[in-house]
């Protein structure tokens, strides 16, 4: 490998890993929800779309810097997720695992089609001067929004880790994940905890949407693609396994980027799907098995 | 010293086991992780023979049962049925060959009627209307024909047990595995079940039964195996096993029924 090839490789890998960071962020939200409630959230990508459209709307209306929309999108996402768990999914009772799939699928359709009615089908983007700027880091050129996205992912996942392992709320969440009944007996209000967890998961998706907005076009069904990515990430890492989701995200970003560069860009989305199917068939507990610590 | 739960035998086993063993298991060992649930158990069942499996709770009886019927993989040992090695055969394959079982916690298909529950099993050897007729015949044999159209979810415990037995019988097995079919029934229910099992053995069916109630197993079995902590404690003629000091100790040391 000569130096030009090496640069191309590092460049591709670095971009892949940064995109993978975003996938990790999306997957962490999905995995958190699954880990605590055994619910596979089929509307996950649509919550991401909400984050994108909040950013778009605020930019259009007030010319608000996209990253400042985080202050709106994250709380809105949390509130939305909290309400959905509390008032919709909680009603499913013991039919949860099968019915929640259909319910979240329905919610996703409602979200994407409401966005369609509100914003139209046309892909839309926002123009911020730094969106197309790049920085040079050790011979590798990276776009600023991608770097911000990477930092945002780090901060979010770091924050979640702190919440889960250093706070009283985190203890209650982990207790609920391991044994809802036992947690309830110890005085944990599990309905509230579950709603908080769903809120956090949705907030993570919305944050990812905001971070993606300077990089991508927003359109109402953009979420579909990201729901699939979230599934891939969580299955690679093992459903409910949070550190696994982070690694799964990075792996997905890496193989997509390298596959697109070295094999064919047309099949960019296929590499992750194939990896996903292989893991599903050969190692359904995820790449890291059951030994890794869950939520 | 006598066993508290042992009542005098009311009748001798009257069926006559005959011919070479139908089912043979040798050196069955089952381990879950580091725990050995069943250790080096061997047994054989001939047509018409009733083999009783006793032992205190946690002795590994149900695990042995599951290993014999294929629901649990034996870590060591060999199982043959009718001369064929079935050690690695799936439960459904064993069922097709002629092994039927009941479950300790009876599990009817709740969405189906009593008749349909048996029909599912009757389809193993019959097709169409013949399967339905066969299912009815079996229901009559266990005394559930008048409940045929009732949803299985509505049956009481005694009838659930009989349904469980009917499903197994509808497979027309050659060896029947009964996992605590009698415990929990009221005395008349117990007597009916005992009579039914005896008739089945007389018709040439080999029967392996796990049972908690000592006097039942003593009166029914031709041969008894007593297990404790996964290991063989004693085996042989029911009287001898019941009188075996280790068996008495195992039962008195445990919360007996």
């Amino acid at each position: 490998m000569d130096s030009a090839q090496l640069t191309a490789f590092t460049q591709t890998l670095a971009q892949g890993l940064l995109t993978g960071g975003l996938y990790a962020l999306i997957g962490t939200g999905l995995s958190l929800i699954f880990g605590v409630m055994k619910v596979i959230n089929f509307a996950h990508g649509d919550f991401l779309a909400i984050g994108m459209f909040i950013t778009l709307a605020l930019f259009r209306a007030f010319h608000l810097d996209p990253y400042l929309s985080l202050l709106v999108a994250a709380p809105v996402g949390f509130a939305l997720g909290y309400a959905i768990q509390r008032f919709v999914l909680a009603r499913l009772g013991d039919r949860l695992s099968e019915a929640s799939m259909l319910a979240t699928l329905g919610l996703g359709l409602i979200i994407s089609n409401t966005l369609l009615l509100t914003f139209g089908a046309q892909p839309q983007n926002i123009n911020v001067p730094y969106a197309i700027q790049t920085v040079q880091l050790g011979g590798v050129q990276l776009s600023i929004p991608l770097i911000v996205a990477g930092l945002g992912t780090l901060a979010s996942i770091g924050g979640l880790n702190y919440l889960l392992y250093r706070t009283e709320l985190g203890r209650a969440i982990r207790a609920t994940a391991q044994n809802p009944l036992g947690a309830e007996l110890q005085g944990v209000k599990t309905t509230n905890i579950q709603a908080i967890v769903f809120g956090l998961g949705v907030a993570f998706a919305a944050i990812a949407g905001v971070l993606l907005m300077p990089l991508l076009y927003a359109f109402p069904t953009v979420g579909e693609n990201y729901t699939t990515k979230a599934f891939i990430v969580t299955v690679l890492g093992g459903l409910g396994n949070l550190p696994g989701a982070v690694v799964g995200g990075l792996v997905l970003g890496g193989i997509e980027s390298l596959g697109a560069f070295y094999i064919s860009n047309n099949y960019r989305d296929a590499y992750g799907l194939v990896a996903f199917l292989l893991v599903l068939l050969l190692k359904p507990e995820g790449l890291f098995g059951k030994t890794v610590k869950r939520v | 010293m006598t066993l508290p739960s042992l009542t005098p035998l009311t009748s001798e086993p009257v069926h006559a086991p005959s011919g070479p063993p139908l089912l043979e298991a040798s050196g069955i060992t089952v381990r879950f992780g580091g725990v050995t649930a069943v250790k080096n158990i061997s047994l054989a069942v001939r047509p018409g023979e009733i083999l009783g499996l006793i032992g205190p709770n946690g002795a590994g009886k149900t695990t042995l049962f599951n290993a014999l019927t294929g629901f649990v993989r034996a870590s060591e040992g060999r199982v043959t049925f009718d001369g064929r090695d079935i050690t690695h055969a799936q439960p459904q394959v064993r069922a097709k060959m002629g092994m039927a079982r009941t479950f300790q916690v009876e599990r009817p298909f709740e969405d189906l009627s009593v008749l349909e529950n048996v029909l599912v099993a009757a389809f193993l050897k019959h097709r169409g209307r013949a399967a339905e007729n066969h299912a009815y015949d079996v229901l009559e044999r266990v005394g559930l024909a008048d409940r045929a159209a009732q949803p299985a979810s509505q049956l009481n415990l005694a009838r659930r047990r009989r349904l469980e037995l009917a499903k197994a019988l509808a497979l027309e097995p050659r060896v029947l595995f009964l996992d605590e079919s009698i415990a929990g029934l009221n005395p008349p229910g117990q007597q009916e079940m005992v009579a039914l099992i005896r008739t089945l053995a007389q018709s040439g069916l080999g029967i392996v039964m796990v049972e908690h109630i000592m006097h039942v197993i003593m009166s029914l079995s031709d041969h008894v195996i007593c297990m404790a902590f996964g290991e063989l404690l004693a085996e042989g003629d029911p009287h001898d096993v019941a009188a075996h000091p280790d068996v008495i100790r195992a039962y008195l040391g445990d919360d007996h029924d």
Partner: protein, 333 residues
Amino acid sequence: MTASVTPARPRALTFGNVWISLALIAVMAVYPLLFGKSMNFGVSTLIFAGLAMSWNLLGGWAGQTSLGHAALLGIGAYTMTILATPERVPAFLGGPLAPWWGALIGMALAALLALVWGSLTFRLRGSYFTLSTIAVALVIRLVAINSDWTGGSEGLFMPELPRFLGLDLFDRQAEYWLAFAFVILTLIITHAVRRSRLGYALQAVREDEDGARALGIDPTRMKVIAFVISAVLTALGGSLYAIYLQAFEPHTLLELPISVQIALMAIIGGRGSIQGPAIGAILLAVFGEVFRTVFANANLLIYGVLILAVTLYAPDGITGLFTRGGRKLGTAR
């Protein structure tokens, strides 16, 4: 027991409620007389009714929720069209094939795919099968978009087709009766499954896999059989749909929303009943038509609202509301 008098034996082994099917068939037969001007609507509705029925053999009877049926639909559509197009048909076939041969080959390919796919994934329990269907369908979609022999992202045009039993295949009337026959076929097969060993085995497996295994039933095998039947019928529906569309592209035919639509029609209609999926498809098509001016291309909004309502308030679907307490096929819990 002295059973000198054989008591009446109520039958369990029936074809299910045939009258509802006959009523449904009557409605479909009368439609062209009443709405002869809306044949487009009629044809597409019937095709989707048949597709929902086909989906239900796997999704309802076997209790395996597929969100990848668009791929099977696509296999039927693409195979028939490619083999009927002179410029696209593989050289060794020596010329274009009649659409019925193409449809049969499409069905065979779909059967093969379902066989392999099912054998591999039915070992997994729970939602993993559903996730795998999404992934397989998306991979197939990517292949269709990026290959030359599939017409790439522009898709395919239907070539001239020979007459089928004297029918002009591009005449909406003829297409209507073909779609009508397709729905009847799926109804007949569902009724036959209801009465068969397969039907009972599937219900047993859906409720309790170990309990079924103890009765000599191989759960994976039963699910694979249901999947293959479902796939074959879906591919047939795909061939019909291709004729109806006359031109199609991967972005419309192979997308996830098509899979979701088929599944939701069946579930909203009621996967617990024999005719529920067809009724669901018809109801949703009518809703879509009524609200078309309001929602335009956001018509999946109705699906979203209805599936949410059904999961919350009517787990057995719309038809389940009317058969509660009656004999039902049962629902996956």
